[in-house]
Amino acid sequence: MNETATQTVVRLDRVGKTYGSGESAVHAVEDVSLELEPGKFFILMGPSGSGKTTLLMLMGCLLRPTSGVVYLFDRKVSGLGEAELPRVRRDNVGFIFQGFNLFPALTALENVEATLNLKGLRGEAARAKARDLLGHIGLAKRLHHLPEDLSGGEKQRVAVARALAGNPPIILADEPTGQLDSKTGRLIVEVLKDLAHNEGRLIFMVSHDTRILGLADRIFTIDDGHLKD
C-alpha cells in the first residue's frame, strides 16, 4: 500500500450525473471535483437524496458520469467499456455496505474466500488468506458461522474483511454503521481508520453519524448534488 503514498488515488474532474432527461431529469451530482490521497480516512455527509450514494458509485466505477471525468491512479476510467470496468473494480476497489450483503448460505470464512476466488486466488491459498483477513479483523473464532449466527457488528466486520480481499487500495463504505449500535459502529469506524492510517489505503465513507466525525482526516458534505469540503 505504501507504494501509492504520494499519488492521487481518486480524482474527479467536474463530474456530474443526471438520471432521466427533459423535465423529469434529476441532477444527482453536479460539477464535483476532488482529489483523494492514499492513507487517509474521508467521510462524506449529507441528507437523504443529496447524491452521496451516486457519488460513491461514480468513484467505484459502478456508474458512468454524464459529464466530467473519473480517474483512478491517473487512469481515465469513466470512459471504459462494460468489459473492462469489472476488472478495474476487482483490482482497485473494495465495498462495504450498510446492509452487509453477505451470502446467507456461506460462512464468514466462505464469504471472504468466495471474493478471493473471484479475484483469482484459489484453493488452500484463498482459504488461508480469508482466515488471515478475518483473524486480522478479530473474527478468528467466528470463521465457520453463518451470517444469521453473527451479530450486526460481526457481520459488518466480515464485510470489511471481504472488502479487503484482494488487497484493494480503495475501500468505499456506504453507511457501514447504519445498522449498528453506536458502540459497535464506532469500533467499525476505528477499524476503517486503522486500515487507512496503518495500511495506506484510501477509505471513503458515507455516513450520517456526526459522532464519528472526529475520526476523519477530511470531511466532505454534499447537498443537492453539490460537494463542499
Binding site: 450514494t53 467505484g60 459502478l62 468466495a114 471474493t115 476466488n117 472488502a163 456506504d174 453507511e175
Partner: protein, 374 residues
Amino acid sequence: MVSIARKNLFHDKVRLAVALAGITFAVVLITVQVGVYLAFLANASVLIDHTEADIWITAHGLENFDFGRAFSEKKLYEVEEVPGVLWAEKYFLAFGYWKTPTGSQETVQMIGFDPETLVGAPWDIVRGNPQDVKYFNSIFYDEAETNRLGDVPIGGETEINNHRVRVVGITRGAKSFIQSPYIFTSFKNALNLSYVSKGNTVYILVKVAPGASVEAVKQRLKETVKDVDVYTSREFSKKTRDYWMINTGTGVALLSIALMGVVIGTVIVANTIYTSTTEHLKEYGTLKAVGASNWHLYKIILEQAVINSVLGFGLGMFVSYWVIQVMKRGNLQVLLPWPILAGVYVTTLLMCLGSSLLSIYKVTKIDPALVFKS
C-alpha cells in the same frame, strides 16, 4: 474454491425439495411415457419384425397387421411363379375367444404358421417344441399373458371359439400391442378354430431368392398378383407402427404427457431458481460490484441448474424404476434402452438450463444501486 451455487441450493432445503420434486415428477413422466411408447412401438410390429420374410402380401387396403383380412389362398400359386421368389408361405391371423379357467372369455389373436418350415413361428420358446402345433388344436401362448389367460400348464386344455385346444408350449416376448394375446398354432388349426372360410389365407410371406432385389420382386408381385397389397417387411412394419402411433393418436397422447412433464418441470424449476436468484440479488450485485463479470454470475446460476438436473434425474430414475415394476406387474411393458435414458438426462439438463434463463436475464439487469440499499 467455494461453490456459491451448491451452498445456495443446500442452504434452503425446502426450496431444494420443491425443485427436486418438480424435476423428479418431470423425469418420471418423461421416462415412463417414452418407455411405454417405445414398448408399444416395438410390440405393434413384433411379429413382422421377427419373421424372416422379405415381403408381405395382404388383402387390398389393409391398414395394419392386426386387422388382417382373408383372401384366396390361390394367390399363393401366382406368387410362387413370380421370378425372384425363393419361397412363399401362407400365414394366418384371426381373432378368437379364449375361455379362461374361471370361465370368463378373453379376446385372442390366433397366429397360424407352417409347423414344417416354422416361418412366422414364435422365436423365443420357454417350453415346448413349436413343431408340435401340427397336432390337432395344439397351441402355444406367451408367458406374459398368464394374468389374462389363466395359468394353463403344458398339456392343459381350454377352449377357443368353443373348440377344445391343448397347450403344448409357452413363448416369451410375443406380446400383442392391442392387448389381445397372441396364440400360436399351425395354419390348419388356426383356420379350423376361426370363422374364416376354408381356402383362404390372411397373409402370404415371401422370401426373395439370393441375389434378387427385394424392391424389384415386390414390383413384379404388384404387377402380377391382383387385388392384394404388397409390402417389404420394413414397409409393413412401419405402416403398422404408424397406424397405431399416428393415425390412432396413441403415440401423440403418450408423447404429449411426456411433454407435459417437461413443461411442468420447467415451470417449477424456473420458479424456484428465479425466486432464489431474486432473494440473492443483492449478493449477486455485491459480487458484480467487486468485479464479477456477468458470466461469473451466470456460471453460479447454471451450476445450480446442473446440480438440480443431476439430483432430480437420479431421484426420477429411482422413482421410475418402482413405477415401472408396478406397471410390469399390471402386464404393461416399458422399453428403456440406455440411449433413451441418456436422452432423458439431456432433456432434464436442458429443462433445468432453460429454467435458468429468466434468472440469467435478472442478474444481467442488476442495478448497481441495489447493493447500496439497506
